[in-house]
Symmetry: C2
Subunit: 190 residues, 2 copies
Amino acid sequence: MELLKQRIKKDGKVRSGNVLKVDSFLNHQMDISLFEAIGKEFKRRFADCPINKILTIESSGIGIACIAAQSFGVPVVFAKKNTTKNIDGAVYSAQIESFTHGRIYNVIVAREFLSPDDNVLIIDDFLANGKALIGLSQIVKKSGANLCGAGIVIEKGFQNGGKQLREEGMRIESLAIIKSMTDDGEIEFE
Amino acid sequence: MELLKQRIKKDGKVRSGNVLKVDSFLNHQMDISLFEAIGKEFKRRFADCPINKILTIESSGIGIACIAAQSFGVPVVFAKKNTTKNIDGAVYSAQIESFTHGRIYNVIVAREFLSPDDNVLIIDDFLANGKALIGLSQIVKKSGANLCGAGIVIEKGFQNGGKQLREEGMRIESLAIIKSMTDDGEIEFE
């Protein structure tokens, strides 16, 4: 997606440790008109799928998922990283190791919001080692729902999460796949 | 906002400890068409304000803020509950005690995303004791931005946060104000 790649080149900042900061438009400050274009592109790529629910994970996936949901005309469910006292009853859960935060989260989705009748699209802002995507797909599998695929805004193609999951048969549509980043800020796309 | 009140009556569930569960449409599964109506109502109520930025807090405020931002044509910034290695440089911070999670968070907003040029609308899903709103308004104040007001989806009118903050001069527009809830599920609005 050319608009997105240009924006990453313009406003993305490379930090040591393979960190790409896109917090001026994607995951701290959020450019909603860019999100609208992203949502339409996800819809174009998954137009052949009978998606009736979008699943994402707090926090930075939520905004993108909600705007994308308008293009699909479906509700969004976001997986929560902690059990709060506002979630009672049975939940589906999975463990996810966070690259950004350097720890393991237990993520949950209330059982009532995913069922075998659902055709689910997972949406997230980043795909790197694939841990979040694996956890979310485990939750979809436990629920008996059909996983149509995953829509990712930025994939770090030089890490192996996307490659591995595609080899296992998951359909992943990433709107910008980064081939390489250098510490002096050069970003190259696949 | 009648549509919202009807939805709360229909799908909201009262739990002990003054907990109102609205996770089937507001803060776990999210009904995006309802969010669109909510966003338009916030715009109608704040039409007189030169709002150029919406501020919310992760996680359950983000979806509502992003959809509302479409009615205002502005970006959204969400305050983060933990310092992650993806946020470098200077931040504005405040401490917020969470009623839902029973602990104190340090919340931060990167300095580059709030400035004295900004006219800010805070959006959040709930207002109860007002702790989140106080923390967010402290961050706005520290940045030198102008706080236009706060748009809240559900206010627990029987707790004192909204009353107190209005007395201190904050403009708060709550779309549904709950007067009372009983353990057998009766919800009465102001």
